[in-house]
Homo-oligomer: 94 residues x 2
């Protein structure tokens, strides 16, 4: 299993637009092969810092997710709503 932590730094005035777009991304991604969980979080101290915490069966499933039609379609639109994005892939060790 691979755990992804994907942190998104939003442009304040674009948060509403981001949330509308991201709902579709979440709905479609949860149907994907190998997606165990895909949950969006908000920093309790910063409403414009959001983080996906995702569990995937394999690295190949994540590679396929990055090429999925909804991901490819929505990513440029989401990029217009954020200043930065950081994606980290982890394995459980303890």
């Amino acid at each position: 299993m691979i755990v992804v932590v994907a942190t998104n730094y939003l442009i304040e005035e674009k948060k509403h637009e981001y949330m509308v777009l991201v709902k579709k991304l979440v709905e479609e991604t949860r149907k994907e092969k190998g997606c165990i969980s895909y949950v969006l979080h908000e920093d309790i101290n910063d409403p414009n810092k959001l983080a996906f915490i995702e569990k995937w069966e394999t690295k190949e499933d994540i590679d396929a997710h990055f090429k999925a039609p909804h991901f490819v379609e929505l990513t440029p639109k989401l990029n217009e709503c954020r200043t930065d994005r950081e994606v980290n892939l982890y394995k459980e060790i303890l």
Copy 2:
């Protein structure tokens, strides 16, 4: 529920020592009130970047964790094994 992502950047030659210390921290923390899960992860591209992903029932439980005897005892020793640490607290929104 609060989700904590605590990223630790280790000093390469101190990783073994860190892992010995952190085992005790994990064992004791999982017994704490309000601790739903407390799992240590390693970045698949950087063996010296580790992240705890933790689920806690309330913010008060996390505040109590930071004052727990095992946390207070082990933190200065763990600090000697890492160059930096970043702690983020999140709530689920989607």
